[in-house]
């Protein structure tokens, strides 16, 4: 970069790239510093076995058309492999239930009717809450007009749901997934499948209160397709397009550039120090790293108030989801399933999920593991050699801090996961050429995210909106002038949607 940057972004994950692209588009000189040899963070597509590629994040339920259009991502190579992947609640006996957007296939009549009412209500809620994912949260007591306006709009949106639905939302918002499902449905298999998105990614299970409805609504905020969208080239295809879009706008993305710390001078963030000792100055530093890394490692407690530091250190950041990648020599057969081209949910009932959670709560893990499985090579032949396949699975629950350490448990957990798959696809073991298990500990080590947590900090009501990551830093600016957050630890949270990066860019641009 010939000129000194106006803004340095620490971390080239998807939010860092989105933030960079918007800032560059507005004419700012932006420098993105990424520690890895590849941009995209947990969204990047990597080769895990010769010829086999996968990305940790494997579907794009939260991505919106506006972002794709704003940054002209399609002209930078972003295409979807599918925009309508259904979810399939797998049954060992082959009586599967398919959830394709607002239609159910294979469920009882009463459950099918209930699902129509359920999905209509949820879509109504999702629509009301949607604008707020893409807006800076308000600050209570700031006395500012904008904050009052955002709060007012939020109140108005809820009110326009109508009195009954508003009261329903207020009643349901903190319900455990189990209570929500029990209210609507009777089939245990369906209930488990529909509860899955309410908890995955957080240290929560069907019986945990605090965020089920919120998480479900959050995952309904994308609009790329009726079913689950999947990017061509894996989620890394989207990451490459984001990096290309940012670069095309004039941003520079430097790889293999780990940042050791933020330089603070007279209380003002003014540059970064790289791991190799190089200093780069800029008047604004934006971190897409998680809040603990951003504040406690990069910035340092000596620049922060005591109670604020404590709130950051108390953020719940232990990840509980492991990622499993299997290289398969051919397509395995799943009982009673013609073609495994959906998102397969291996969760017979909610108690099954809860039991796996119980083991993880105390630092262990279950023998039978609930998981969501996708075989992206069915829609995208760039991910595996011809005729061969990649299986990508999110496996719960894998405690970040397993008792005895992951070195001692890695192989057992992997074996449990494969054994759990075998209940549905009995011959799968014979197809496996190579495997990769990324426990939360591995994710932490390889992707530099504290606890290996998807959302950088638990996504839950107490940690939401004006409390994300905590008050005092919930509007993308932080207590240290010149230092900003743009990662999943900021509002609205994790998941590939770029809202945190977008909102942060807007907050920074509006400051000037």
């Amino acid at each position: 970069m010939s000129k000194t940057p106006d803004i340095i972004i620490v971390g080239g994950g998807h939010n860092g790239l989105v933030c960079a692209a918007y800032l560059a588009k507005a004419g700012r000189q932006v420098l993105v510093l990424e520690a890895a040899s590849q941009a995209g963070g947990l969204g990047s597509t990597r080769e895990f076995a010769p010829g086999f590629r996968a990305s940790v994040a494997h579907t794009l339920p939260q991505l919106g058309r506006k972002l794709v259009a704003d940054l002209a991502l399609e002209s930078h190579g972003f295409t979807l492999a599918t925009d309508a992947m259904p979810s399939v609640a797998l049954s060992t006996s082959g009586d599967h239930i398919t959830i394709a957007g607002s239609t159910l296939i294979g469920a009882s009549d009463s459950d099918t009717a209930a699902y129509t009412a359920y999905i209509q209500l949820m879509q109504k809620f999702a629509k009301a809450i949607n604008p707020f994912w893409h807006k800076r949260p308000p600050m209570i007591g700031s006395g500012g007009l904008r904050d009052a306006l955002t709060l007012g709009q939020f109140g108005w949106k809820l009110r326009t749901l109508g009195k009954d639905d508003m009261r329903e939302l207020m009643r349901m918002i903190a319900l455990p997934a189990q209570d929500l499902m029990d209210e609507f449905f009777s089939d245990p298999l369906l209930k488990a499948a529909l509860s899955w998105d309410a908890n995955i990614g957080s240290k929560l299970a069907p019986r945990s209160p605090n965020n089920a409805v919120l998480a479900l609504l959050y995952r309904m905020c994308g609009d790329l397709g009726e079913g689950l969208p999947v990017a061509r080239g894996g989620t890394g295809g989207l990451m490459d397009a984001l990096a290309a879009a940012a670069t095309a706008q004039g941003a520079e993305v430097r790889l293999n550039c780990p940042v050791a710390g933020i330089i603070v001078d007279q209380g003002q963030a003014c540059g970064v120090e790289l791991a190799d000792g190089e200093l780069i100055r800029a008047p604004k530093i934006v971190s897409s790293a998680d809040p603990k890394t951003s504040f406690l490692q990069l910035l340092g407690a000596q620049h922060l108030d005591i109670q604020f530091t404590h709130r950051i250190s108390r953020l719940r950041t232990d990840g509980y989801v492991a990622k499993l990648h299997l290289a398969l020599d051919s397509l395995p057969e799943f009982n009673g399933l013609a073609r495994p081209d959906g998102r397969l949910l291996l969760t017979p009932d909610m108690a099954f999920i809860e039991n796996a959670y119980d083991a993880a709560k105390y630092g262990g893990y279950a023998r039978e593991l609930p998981m969501e499985v996708v075989i992206p090579s069915l829609q995208d032949d760039s991910l595996a050699p011809s005729g061969q396949h990649v299986l990508s699975a999110l496996v719960q629950y894998a405690p970040c801090k397993v008792k005895g350490g992951w070195d001692a448990h890695h192989n057992t957990f992997l074996d449990n996961a494969i054994a759990s798959l075998e209940r549905y696809a009995p011959d799968i073991r014979t197809h496996i050429i190579a495997s990769e298990l990324l426990t939360p500990y591995d994710l932490e080590q390889q992707y530099r995210v504290t606890g290996g947590h998807w959302h950088h900090a638990e996504f839950a009501l107490d940690n939401w909106w004006m409390n994300r990551p905590t008050y005092g830093a919930s509007q993308y600016s932080t207590p240290v002038p010149g230092f900003y957050l743009c990662g999943a630890g900021a509002h609205p949270g994790g998941g590939i949607m770029g809202a945190a990066g977008h909102n942060a860019a807007r907050a920074i641009l509006e400051e000037n």
């Binding site: 001078d265 922060l304 108030d305 005591i306 207590p479």
Partner: protein, 406 residues
Amino acid sequence: MPLKATLQPADAIDHVHLGILPSPFHSRTSRLNRNQLWGEWNGYASATYYADSHLEYFSTRNTCGVFDVSPMRKYRFSGTDAAAMLNRMVTRDVLAQAIDTVAYNVWCTDDGKVVDDGTIFRFSEDEFMLCCADPCFDWFCLSAVGFDAVDITDISADVAALSLQGPTSCALLKAMGFSGIEQCKPFQIMRFPFGSGDIMISRTGYTGDLGYEMWLAPEDAELLWDQLFDRGKIYGIQPMGDESLEMARIEAGFLAPDVDFHGSLHTVELNHDHSPLELGLGWILNFKKPFFSGRAALLAQKESGNYRRLLKLDIEGNKPADNSILYADKKCAKEIGYVTSAMWSPVVKANIGYGLVEAKYFEGPIWAEIYHQKELRWQRRVARCTRVTKPFWSPERAKATPPPDC
């Protein structure tokens, strides 16, 4: 019948249990505490007075008095991050504090409200002792979050401490063999061999007069007490209790926790806590320091000027203004604050006190509504108050090195 009663020494009565802990000096203080009148300070017995609180008070102004400060909470901070951690916690520049000196400090919440105050002793690059009146370990642990190389240890029970205050204090210490003590400057630390090891003497105190505090191993406590009182007879030494210390500290302009201010962590109501600016501690806020906890909030408050003031007041008449409400007018129509501490000062010969006054009114007229009793009948008087900017009592000898007559 002969009118004669023999009083047993208090420590000879073994069936009376105080229910509070003995300090390392208790075998000596209990012998002198004529009425066995004890207050409780951090779980330890602290004499209310020994014989006569006025006599004890006058010892700090005319001869010297000894106050047992062992119940103070003492914390050791060590490690390569200790200086940085303390520097971020307190309002003064710890990094610039010289080795073997003491500095009075406050530490604040994020909102710039006082958690507590105390003194930091710097022993080396990486080793400190912090003394405060009340336990504060939880706050220190909270303040250490994000600093790896700092160890915080509560050493309260491992250190016995005595305060020797008054014009003859230096001469007495010199006579006890602590030669060179006269060269010890205010807030400086010196060490001498004593008893089983060392004694540390700091020129610090809570009376505003010439004085020293002595820090040593608990097993040497009695030896120190005995030597002080053996040698101290001709220097007019007196033991001091809480009541006399309270008088001395008001004259000196020092604040008492839970009297003049509440620690922020102990208040429930909004604004029942205080910022250092409100308490008149603006002089220890080092805004040249790039950061300390609460800095941004305090800087904003300072720039606004809109904050209450704890004022030193010279109150007309001779009736102490304890518990008085303050008004902007003699008719007591506009209430503007209240008195936190008050007394008739024997050395200054003035009716003095501290009053917390609303921001809008601190420069205008201030009247105190005083209630006092005359033969059980309550009387009311409204007294004009005058602001005083210097400490009420601040003799030259407290600052001179060497002190006079040494």
